[in-house]
């Protein structure tokens, strides 16, 4: 959804049809983030609903001049999921971290959360850095400990990964433009 300014304005005016369209557009992407963070299908479904409820009730707080709607929604989902995880027993949280190391592959296969698209094409350490901060909701401090590299190195990984993503998407956009040019 490249240009959804009107839709978001309608959403902010409590238009349920606009909410429905935004849900259809973003629920998959947001659910993908939540389920990778909490690794619990049932909880992820509840958190997804809660995320959209919060967005609906706080829609007046969204300021388009400060960023994209999806980023705002992502932050709500991330905070809601982290709150959910904090409510769990600390022991379970510790186990969750260990899950990333030992049982990650099995869980990914069960929940179908293996990474796809351009992110999956990045080098493993770049892929992991983005996965930890973006999809697993870790802070940079938690993530560098998780990867076993110094904080500065980890930050470089994130930076480099972001640059690589930009390169890939810019290339894809260019190819798309060329195809459209050829078709017209």
């Amino acid at each position: 959804m490249k240009d959804n300014t009107l839709l978001i304005e309608q959403f902010q005016n409590r238009d349920e049809a606009a909410l429905s369209k935004l849900y259809d557009s973003y629920s998959g992407a947001i659910y993908g983030v939540i389920i990778r963070m909490c690794r619990n299908e049932e909880a992820a479904q509840e958190i997804l609903q809660e995320t959209f409820m919060k967005a609906w009730n706080k829609s007046h707080l969204y300021d388009a001049s400060k960023g994209k709607f999806y980023t705002w929604l992502y932050r709500i989902a991330r905070n809601t999921t982290l709150n959910f995880l904090r409510k769990q027993d600390k022991l379970i949280q510790t186990e969750d971290l260990s899950v990333y190391k030992d049982e990650g592959i099995t869980e990914n296969q069960e929940l179908h959360t293996e990474l796809k698209g351009v992110l999956a094409k990045l080098e493993p350490h770049h892929q992991k850095a983005i996965q930890l901060v973006y999809f697993n909701g870790l802070t940079h401090k938690e993530a560098h400990e998780e990867m076993g590299v110094p904080l500065g190195t980890f930050k470089s990984y994130v930076r480099q990964a972001v640059e690589k993503l930009r390169g890939h998407y810019a290339k894809e956009s260019l190819i798309l433009i060329c195809i459209l040019e050829l078709l017209t």
Binding site: S20, S27, G67, K68, V158, Y169
Partner: protein, 268 residues
């Protein structure tokens, strides 16, 4: 605050996107993003890339979540309106039912009166505005009609003069003062009439005007000012003229021709 390059290289934009930036840095960064278009563009690209990553890694949730979401929204809306309804029901069941009922009716009538008055006031305002707009449009149309009538009279006059076999036509080509300027004079010695089509004469500053003169025995006799706002200008017919001349004069015209400002002439 750090400069743009430092912000980009430090990873602050990614941390801001993730909601990990400390509050004290958020305000400063938002200010910079609002003021620095290059930085804002960079952040927008990162946002778009992360959105793309999310969409590529989307997992479709079960359909019932959406249904539950809308059911929850409806329920929440009902809960918000319910207390008022309950309160009203309680009041109706209480001992003061009759007095509350009358107060309710009175309040209802007052509210309706207020709404009606407001509606009528709005309607009156809207009508006033419409009337004003209509009057303005009418004035514009009147002006357009007056212009068209003027143009029609000019065209009729020109047609009448041109079709008369006694009318002689003279071309007046501009000299180096108005190299592309051009006027056409129509002289009818039978009717003793003279008109000029001055459409092709270049526009002059507001403090200047064109004026036409007839040369009679070496003396320039005033034929009149050429009004550039008209296509066709009727001039004074001068007997025994040997040439027609146009000069540039101060606005309002001159009693004597300024020969140094001669822009065109033709011998009859």
């Amino acid at each position: 605050m750090k400069d743009r390059k430092t912000i980009i290289e430090s990873g602050m934009l990614e941390m801001y996107l993730l909601g990990l930036l400390p509050d004290e840095q958020v305000t400063a960064l938002e200010k910079m993003l609002a003021e620095d278009a290059v930085l804002a563009k960079k952040y927008a690209e990162i946002e778009q890339d992360f959105e793309n990553v999310s969409l590529e890694n989307a997992i479709q949730p079960p359909n019932f979540i959406k249904e539950d979401l809308f059911a929850a929204i409806q329920e929440e809306a009902n809960v918000k309106t319910l207390p008022k309804e309950e309160k009203l029901a309680d009041e109706q069941n209480g001992g003061k039912t009759v007095s509350f009922l009358w107060i309710g009716i009175a309040a209802g009538i007052a509210a309706m009166f207020m709404i009606s008055a407001l509606w009528m006031f709005n309607q009156w305002n809207a009508t006033q505005n419409d009337l004003q707009i209509t009057q303005q449009e009418l004035q514009t149309i009147k002006e357009q009609i007056a212009n068209l009538e003027g143009n029609l009279k000019d065209a009729e006059l020109l047609a009448e003069v041109v079709k008369d076999p006694n009318t002689l036509q003279y071309s007046l080509k501009g000299n180096d003062k108005i190299p592309n300027g051009f006027a056409t004079a129509y002289i009818n010695h039978q009717d003793k009439s003279a008109i000029v089509n001055a459409q092709k004469l270049p526009a002059l500053p507001a403090d200047k005007t064109y004026q036409m003169w007839a040369d009679v025995d070496g003396e320039m006799i005033n034929m009149g000012i050429i009004d550039k706002s008209k296509d066709v200008v009727v001039l004074n017919y001068i007997d025994k003229a040997t040439s027609l001349n146009i000069t540039i004069e101060p606005a309002g015209g001159s009693d004597h021709a300024t020969v140094s400002q001669l822009v065109t002439n033709v011998y009859l």
